[in-house]
């Protein structure tokens, strides 16, 4: 899972080539790799790739700080299956 997410972020979201290769512990927020545009794309990718709909209250900096924290969050079983996203549900 780390490899899939790292690969997606490295290929699709990283604007600054000097940040590559991307470590799984590399901070994604401070470095600006994740901003409002790319976060949205990542969430959509997670939904398409893993069938996991990220829950509203789980969309927080702590979960998206790095590839490692993203995977830890996804494995923890939080978040619903695709089609049951938070909000209006």
């Amino acid at each position: 899972m780390e490899a899939v997410i790292n690969d997606y972020i490295s290929r699709e979201l990283v604007q600054d080539a000097t940040l590559l290769p991307l470590g799984n512990a590399t901070p994604l927020l401070e470095t600006g790799i994740l901003d409002s545009l790319s976060l949205l794309r990542l969430v959509m990718f997670i939904q398409e790739q893993f069938g996991i709909a990220v829950d509203d209250l789980d969309l927080v900096p702590a979960h998206f700080a790095s590839v490692d924290t993203i995977c830890a969050y996804l494995r923890s079983g939080a978040g619903g299956k695709a089609g049951q996203a938070g909000g209006l549900g």
Partner: protein, 533 residues
């Protein structure tokens, strides 16, 4: 009577000096402080030789420091040019060179980046650091400063007198700011807006929203996006408070909702995609957003289902659709009737703002007047741009003689937007005539992306097409044929684009073909490519 944007500040500081002008969490800046700090910045600019009519760059994310910079620049009689810190250096250099920026204002977070620009912008001679600095601690990596660049730290600015300058240094027809937007031939173009044009919008917007001094206004739009003219200047006019949302907060919808609750935001203005994220992921039911009395959206079509969803969650707010290109700021508007819980189509762009004339012209040159008729939207009035900086040819193509008045010279702006009149007398947006699309609320000329692609030696031909996307407006699909056999990879193409274009202009999809399909006249057949997604 305020005839310059900075008068809005001096008047509010005079009558409500202690009221908060800007707030971010625990910190706030009063109107008196904003007035005094901007006086100090103005003097620092004058000491660097800034004269009326000059263009002063401001490289900063939206913050208290950047608003201090805005008013400081205006007070010298110069106009400000907002520079996007997220743009690649090459694009910033092109903008700074094009507008002749010799002095740039940056905050603690962007000072390093601004200094680095001196290498590629020879006429850049001074960098002034603006404040106050409210952000997280920035590690001051000491890079070597380019020789010859004068750097004025914030402490030095604060050491100067804080009294107002003796007299105004501009008149209302002088430029207030230049906003650079995507250019179809590859180079971004600078939309010139005078004080008078800006005030025309500000006055209308304040009246439309009944902005009062108790309001707490927030727009996440960056300074180079004309949405920010509302939250900076209309808020100032009312002596209301501008709440600055930290980017880390605005990115995470539930945190944004929590922030809006805590800050008691009363007026919100943004592109629809932020609101869609809010209604989809913001857990709105968990927060008390009853202070929010007006939600304004602009910049792209708001998908009906998400707007309905938001209205169902927050029924107590007014919902306003403001439409208009950067060249005119907002020119038409529509208030969504309350209880519109089941919208099935995007809402209209509505009717002309007070003191603005917007009309549609059919292909035959007649004025659209009956429901069902379609035409291109033209705009006439004081809020129009002066033109494009350094591009009289493009200016004359877009600012034409009013087609319905021939007695004297009078400009009307051709928006390039196709509209239709509906049964209620509202204009409905139909689409564009040309290669401009909106993605995530940003304006993108497909030609600018294509031009960047053509800059790659291995790319023989390239076409960029919009792919409609419910959330983003459009995604960008690049179809490329490469020179020679050497395997050009998708990563190479994207990397090439990222060096030249801001993130939102980098294609989402890259396809390679041996050759691009052609029409019978030999032109690239875009229609066929659209059909073969």
């Amino acid at each position: 009577m305020a005839y310059l944007l900075q008068h809005l500040l001096t008047e509010s500081a005079g009558r409500a000096p202690g009221r908060p002008a800007m707030a971010s969490g625990e910190r706030f800046l009063s109107y008196e402080e904003l007035d005094r700090l901007s006086n100090q910045v103005a003097r620092a600019l004058l000491a660097q030789g800034v004269a009326p009519g000059d263009r002063v760059g401001i490289l900063a994310l939206k913050s208290a420091a950047s608003v201090v910079a805005v008013f400081g620049a205006l007070k010298t009689g110069a106009c400000y040019v907002p520079l996007d810190p997220k743009s690649p250096a090459g694009r910033l250099a092109a903008i700074m060179t094009d507008s002749g920026i010799a002095v740039v204002l940056a905050d603690e977070g962007t000072a390093q980046q601004a200094a680095a620009m001196a290498e590629s912008v020879p006429q850049l001679r001074s960098l002034i650091v603006t404040g106050p600095h409210w952000g997280p601690e920035v590690s001051r990596t000491s890079g070597t400063l380019p020789p010859g660049l004068v750097v004025v730290p914030w402490d030095a600015v604060l050491a100067g007198p804080a009294e107002a300058l003796a007299a105004d240094r501009a008149i209302d027809t002088d430029l207030a700011y230049i906003l650079y937007t995507s250019g179809s031939t590859g180079a971004p173009k600078g939309v010139m807006i005078s004080h008078r044009a800006s005030l025309a919008f500000v006055e209308w917007a304040a009246a439309c929203t009944s902005l009062g001094d108790q309001d707490r206004v927030c727009s996440p739009a960056p300074l180079h996006f004309d949405l920010s003219v509302f939250d900076v200047f209309a808020t100032c006019r009312a002596a209301a408070c501008m709440a600055v949302v930290p980017e880390m907060t605005s990115m995470f919808p539930a945190r944004l909702a929590q922030w809006m609750e805590r800050e008691r935001i009363s007026i919100w203005y943004s592109v629809p995609s932020v609101l869609t994220m809010l209604v989809t992921y913001g857990n709105l039911r968990g927060f008390d957003l009853s202070a929010l009395r007006a939600i304004i959206f602009a910049g792209e079509v708001f998908p009906a289902k998400h707007l309905s969803g938001l209205m169902a969650e927050l029924p107590g707010a007014r919902y306003l659709n403001w439409y208009g290109p950067t060249e005119t700021n907002v020119c038409t508007w529509y208030e969504v009737p309350p209880g519109s819980a089941a919208l099935t189509a995007p809402v209209p762009i509505g009717q002309p703002c007070a003191n603005t004339d917007a009309f549609a012209v059919t292909d035959e040159g007649r004025r659209v007047s009956e429901p069902g008729e379609e035409g291109e939207l033209y705009v006439r009035g004081s809020a129009l741009m002066r033109g494009y900086w350094g591009d009289p040819e493009k200016t004359h193509r877009m600012l034409v003689q009013n087609p319905f008045q021939a007695a004297y010279d009078e400009p009307a702006y051709r928006t390039g937007d196709l509209v239709k009149l509906d049964e209620e007398g509202n204009y409905v947006f139909l689409g564009r005539r040309d290669g401009m699309v909106k993605t995530r609320g940003y304006r993108v000329e497909l030609g600018e992306v294509e031009s960047a692609l053509y800059g790659h030696p291995a790319i023989r031909e390239a076409v960029v097409l919009p792919v409609p996307d419910e959330l983003l407006g459009s995604r960008l699909r690049a179809v490329i044929s490469a020179n020679g056999p050497g395997g050009l990879t998708r990563e190479e193409v994207l990397d090439h684009c990222r060096r030249r274009l801001p993130g939102y202009m980098v294609p989402d999809v890259v396809e390679f073909r041996k050759a691009l399909p052609r029409t019978s006249t030999g032109k690239i057949d875009r229609a066929q490519l659209v059909g073969t997604q």
